[in-house]
C-alpha cells in the first residue's frame, strides 16, 4: 500500500468503516512509515480537539418567543377559510382598477405577501374598492412604483425584510408599532425596509401603526419611492388622522404631483373637514412659489405624534 492510498483511507479508518483487511494493512503501513504516522496522529489530534469543542451557548429566550408567535399566526391563518386568497383577489382588483393599462398582478402579488402579515381582513374587506381615480400622470407614477416594488419582489417574497418578517410574527398592535419605530433609528435603511413600511402604511389595520409608519417614512421623504408610495396610498386611506398626516408630509416635501389628489380631497363632501382643510392648505402651498423653508422641508410635523 502506498502512502497516498493509506492517507485516503484515514477518514474511513477513523470512522471504523474500513473493511477489516484494509484496516489491518493500514495499521501495518503506519507501523513502518513515519510520514503517515505523523499524518495520522495529526488527524487524530485535530479530530479530538474538534470533538472537544463545547456546545455553543444557548439561544436567548427571544428565539422561542418569536417562534411561538409565528406559529400562532400561522395556525390562525390555517384555521380560517383562506383569508389570504380572498385578500389577494381584492388587492389584485384594487390595483387592477388603479392601473388600468399595466399588468398589476406582480405588484399586487408582492404587496399581498406583505399584506399576509399585517392584514387582518377586517379593515380592507369592509371597504368598497375605491373607484379608479387616476390621471395619466398618476398612472405613470404608479407604474413607476410598481416597477420599483417589483424589483424588490423576490426579497419581499422571501420575507427577507425585517419589518415584514416582524410584522408577520408579531400579532399585537404594540409589537408592530415597536417594529415600525425601530426602523426610525436607521439612518439609511434598506430599500426594502422602506417598501415594507409602505406596505404597512397600506395594509396595517391599526391607525396608530399607520401614523407611526408615516412618522418613520418622513425622515426618508426625499426618496422617490416614499413619495410615490404615499401618493398611491392616500386615495384609499379612510382614517382622517392618517389622511391629514399624509397630506402634511407630502406638503412639507412640496410633492407637486400631490396637487390633483389634494384638489379632489378638498372638494370631497364626504371627507372629514380636517382633511379637506389640510388638503386646501396643502394645495395653496404647492401652488405658491416655493420658498425654501428649512424648518418644514426637513422634519415635517405630525399632528398627532409630535
Amino acid at each position: 500500500m502506498n502512502c497516498q492510498r493509506v492517507q485516503d483511507n484515514f477518514i474511513d479508518h477513523q470512522d471504523g468503516t474500513l473493511p477489516p483487511a484494509e484496516s489491518a494493512a493500514l495499521r501495518a503501513h503506519l507501523a513502518s512509515c513515519p510520514d503517515c504516522q505523523r499524518e495520522w496522529s495529526a488527524l487524530q489530534e485535530m479530530t479530538r480537539k474538534l470533538d472537544a469543542l463545547p456546545a455553543t451557548e444557548e439561544p436567548s429566550p427571544r428565539l422561542r418567543e418569536q417562534f411561538y408567535a409565528m406559529l400562532e399566526t400561522h395556525q390562525r391563518d390555517a384555521d380560517t377559510v383562506s383569508p389570504f386568497a380572498l385578500a389577494k383577489s381584492r388587492i389584485d382588483r384594487f390595483f387592477a382598477a388603479l392601473l388600468p393599462s399595466t399588468p398589476s398582478l406582480q405588484f399586487a402579488g408582492a404587496l399581498a405577501v406583505l399584506a399576509l402579515g399585517v392584514f387582518t381582513g377586517a379593515r380592507y374587506l369592509q371597504q368598497p374598492v375605491p373607484p379608479a381615480v387616476t390621471s395619466p400622470a398618476d398612472a405613470q407614477r404608479l407604474a413607476n412604483l410598481e416597477r420599483e416594488l417589483a424589483d424588490q419582489k423576490s426579497e419581499v417574497k422571501d420575507m427577507g425584510g425585517l419589518v415584514a418578517a416582524s410584522l408577520l410574527q408579531h400579532k399585537s398592535t404594540s409589537e408592530r408599532l415597536q417594529t415600525v419605530l425601530a426602523t426610525m433609528d436607521q439612518k439609511s435603511p434598506d430599500r426594502h425596509v422602506l417598501t415594507d413600511l409602505l406596505g404597512a402604511l397600506a395594509f396595517d389595520p391599526s391607525v396608530n401603526v399607520r401614523l407611526s409608519t408615516i412618522e418613520a417614512l418622513a425622515a426618508h421623504a426625499d426618496q422617490a419611492v416614499v413619495r410615490q408610495g404615499l401618493l398611491a396610498t392616500l386615495p384609499r386611506e379612510s382614517a382622517p388622522l392618517v389622511q391629514v398626516a399624509m397630506i402634511e408630509l407630502l406638503t412639507s416635501v412640496r410633492e407637486a404631483a400631490a396637487a390633483p389628489l389634494f384638489e379632489r380631497l378638498s372638494r370631497d363632501e364626504t371627507a372629514d373637514k380636517d382633511v379637506r382643510e389640510s388638503a386646501r392648505r396643502g394645495l395653496a402651498l404647492l401652488r405658491s412659489p416655493s420658498p425654501t423653508d428649512p424648518l418644514k422641508s426637513k422634519q415635517p410635523s405630525n399632528p398627532v405624534l409630535s
Binding site: 485516503d8 477518514i11 485535530m46 480537539k49 469543542l53 451557548e57 428565539l63 417562534f67 409565528m70 395556525q75
Partner: protein
C-alpha cells in the same frame, strides 16, 4: 454546486437513521411533520423543541455570529411552515431541516458578502466559558479557544463539512445527500478540511507565540 430545489428534495426513510444528538425517534419527527403539513400547525412546536438548539449550534459554528444565528433558526422554521406542503410522505425530517438550514445559511452569506462582516469578535468573546470539556485530555481552555478560532477561519465548505460531521454528528451518507455529492467526495472533503483546520490551528498558535 447544484442544490435541489426544495420541492424536489426527498430522502428515503429506509436509509440509515439520523445520528442527531437531540433526535429521539426519526419516525415521530416524520409523523409530527405530516401533522403540520395537514394543518396542525402547532405541532411544529415539538419539532422546534427538538431541533432549535442543534440548528442554532450549526449556525453559530458556521457564521460565528450568535445573534444572527437566532434569526437564521427562525427563518428555517418560517420556511418549514411556508413550504410544509412540499414535505414528502417518504420524507425524512432531519434531512429536510438541514437542507433548509443550508439554503438559509447560503442566503445569509450571500447577503453578508455585500457588507462583509466575516467574524464578529464581539459576538465571539461573549461566549461564556463552558463546563470543562468532556474529554479532559483534549486540551485546556486556551486550547479550545484556539480551536474555536481555527474553525472560524477555515474556508466555508470545509467548515461546513466539519460542523456537520463532527459537531452535528451527521454520517457521511447524510452529508452526501445534503451536499448533493458522492459519499467518497464527502470523505475527501472531510479529510482536506481536517488538514486545513490543522494548518490554521498551528498558524494561529504561531501568531500567538510571536
Amino acid at each position: 454546486m447544484f442544490l435541489a430545489p426544495v420541492t424536489q428534495f426527498r430522502v428515503s426513510s429506509a436509509e440509515a437513521p439520523a445520528s442527531l444528538p437531540a433526535t429521539v425517534d426519526a419516525d415521530s419527527d416524520h409523523e409530527l411533520m405530516l401533522a403540520v403539513r395537514a394543518g396542525e400547525i402547532r405541532r411544529l412546536g415539538d419539532l422546534f423543541e427538538r431541533y432549535h438548539k442543534p440548528l442554532y449550534g450549526f449556525f453559530v459554528r458556521l457564521t460565528n455570529q450568535p445573534s444572527a444565528s437566532e434569526d437564521l433558526v427562525q427563518i428555517v422554521f418560517y420556511r418549514i411552515l411556508k413550504y410544509r406542503h412540499t414535505y414528502r410522505d417518504e420524507g425524512k425530517f432531519s434531512a429536510w431541516i438541514y437542507h433548509l438550514a443550508r439554503k438559509v445559511s447560503a442566503d445569509h452569506f450571500r447577503k453578508s458578502a455585500r457588507t462583509p462582516t466575516p467574524t464578529d469578535p464581539a459576538d465571539f468573546n461573549e461566549q461564556p466559558d463552558q463546563e470543562p470539556a468532556p474529554d479532559a485530555q483534549a486540551g485546556t481552555a486556551d486550547d479550545l479557544e484556539l480551536m474555536r478560532r481555527a474553525l472560524a477561519r477555515v474556508t466555508h465548505d470545509h467548515r461546513e463539512v466539519l460542523v456537520l460531521a463532527r459537531l452535528q454528528h451527521l454520517n457521511h451518507q447524510e452529508i452526501a445527500r445534503l451536499l448533493d455529492c458522492s459519499v467518497g467526495a464527502v470523505k475527501v472533503r472531510a479529510h482536506r478540511a481536517l488538514k486545513e483546520l490543522r494548518e490554521v490551528y498551528f498558524k494561529i498558535r504561531k501568531e500567538q507565540a510571536a
